[in-house]
Amino acid sequence: MESADYDQWLGRAQSLADHIQKGNDDEVNRLLDEISRGRERMLFQELGKLTREFHEALNGFRLDARITDLAQENIPDAKQRLNYVIVMTEQAANRTLTAVEEVMPLSESMAAQAKVLRAQWARFTGRTMSAADFRHLSHEIEQFLDKTSTDADHIRNNLSDVLMAQDYQDITGQILQRVIRLVNEMEEHLVRLVRGSGTRVMPSTEKPQGLTAALVDASESVAVHGPHVPGTAPEEEVIHSQDDVDALLSSLGF
């Protein structure tokens, strides 16, 4: 009880005692009524507070019931996304390895052949080469130059393929960022659930966060969806190839 309340109660008790001693029945009755009304008011206030806490606890529990959604829908969805990341990184690794393996022997034979020709060329410049050998050498040089030109093109193409294969980092990065967001939401909801079961009162000022907020975001008309992961969105909403994009744009007058 606060000191102001205490003083008030003490004052009432003292004046009640005075009136009883003086035999003021009317005043005694009035004071007794006032005192009991005060008690009732406190009781109702306490009951009101309890009701509010109960209501908030129920609301909090409903919010945390979204954990069920997370477990039933978002986690399997995240597993699918993570598996897709494995598939994409594997494809990129294979694409890179194939491109490298294909042209590695080309650059090796180019170096070896250049070394052989260099030695013969030294014989020519040192004037120790016969005319017949020189004819043979010039033929070999011609062949080497042709082959080098073709092989260099091949190497360049494969290097460019290696370059393009690195785009997996962007796409898988976006997918992983989404999964990390989901894990964060999950954590938030679990923390809230633990807090909710440990104490009776849920903070009433807390705004919907995490998944609730994410669901609100997702309902915006042109939200960011991230890279398409097979099996995670209705297929008819998704454009599958650059050709489809071009067709759609040309239907819009592009």
Binding site: D167, D170, V222, P227, V238, Q242, L248
Partner: protein, 124 residues
Amino acid sequence: MKILIVDDFATMRRIIKNLLRDLGYTNITEADDGNSALPLLQTGNFDFLVTDWNMPGMPGIELLKAVRAMPKTAKLPVLMVTAESKREQIVAAAQAGVSGYIVKPFTAVTLKEKIDKIFERIQG
């Protein structure tokens, strides 16, 4: 020709930069989202903008709208290179005035085709 590449992933910026260099474009500047791209576009005389969609800060679609709203850049050719492949998004980009739209993953040939087409249209 002065080109600005906007993508939050440095690897993708490098890939696009390399591809553009192959096509003979060497004057290339990079930015990692719309917020850092806009001041560059306001001050620099860029001839071409290549942007991603999904970026923290200012996403590509907002950047596109901002570019179209500024008198200095209203006619700047904008090529969107993005993993966003929902029908509604492509339509939204078209409505916002995108000049070309490439979905990731893409090929060097696709990039060349789209760029050629954009400049053909400008010159034609």
